[in-house]
């Protein structure tokens, strides 16, 4: 299989994702790792709470992977996202794209995370020391 998609309540591990994607057919592998930041707009972040509409999220992730395979000459695409409670330094998302040549790997990986953030039904609540809010939900 050339597509690996996962939504998990467990901690994500980077190395197994890279091992899955790497091969002697792919000269370039681009990896994007999202990390929970310890502050946002100057406010200290205590934790993030992620939830998902899982069946639809996997469906939208599949569309991103299929689109990439049509648009770029890439060999492997991995998208893993974690849900539940995460603290600063934890990894909510890992994307790996392996291609014969690096341009496709970079462009497809960037496309994957940019599109993911626009279409995949996963929501995060930022919890600060003095309040909390669902990101992007309110004007």
């Amino acid at each position: 299989m050339n597509i690996d998609l996962k939504i998990s309540a467990e901690a994500l591990a980077v190395q197994p994702c890279i091992d899955w994607a790497m091969s002697a057919e792919s000269g370039g592998v681009d990896v994007f790792i999202g990390t929970v930041r310890n502050s946002t707009k100057g406010r200290k972040v205590v934790r993030l709470e992620f939830e998902t509409y899982e069946s639809m999220a996997l469906n939208e992730m599949r569309k991103i992977a299929d689109d990439i395979l049509m648009k770029w000459p890439v060999n492997k695409i991995l998208i893993h996202h974690r849900i539940g409670v995460l603290v600063p330094g934890d990894i909510p998302v890992i994307i790996v794209v392996a291609a014969a040549h690096r341009a496709a790997a970079f462009e497809a990986c960037r496309y994957a995370i940019d599109t993911f953030k626009q279409t995949v039904p996963i929501w995060k609540k930022e919890v600060f020391e003095d309040g909390e809010h669902w990101v992007a939900a309110h004007p």
């Binding site: 995370i113 953030k117 992007a136």
Partner: protein, 78 residues
Amino acid sequence: MNILAFGAVKEILGDTSITVSLDNNERVGILITRLETQFPQLKQLSSFMIAVNGEYANADTIIKQGDEVAIIPPVSGG
């Protein structure tokens, strides 16, 4: 009809699903009007989408009996 609620919608409405009366084969546009009438708190959101059977719907999408319908507030994964 039972409608799934997630994230900010779940919190605004206080439940993981809500019930709206809707004829069979009605359009999503009508559902949105009903939702905003029945749950005016939804106007607190910057926007929301409706998904039917796990696909983003538009105002003309027809909702059939047994479809899985969800309110999708602005996503923020990644």
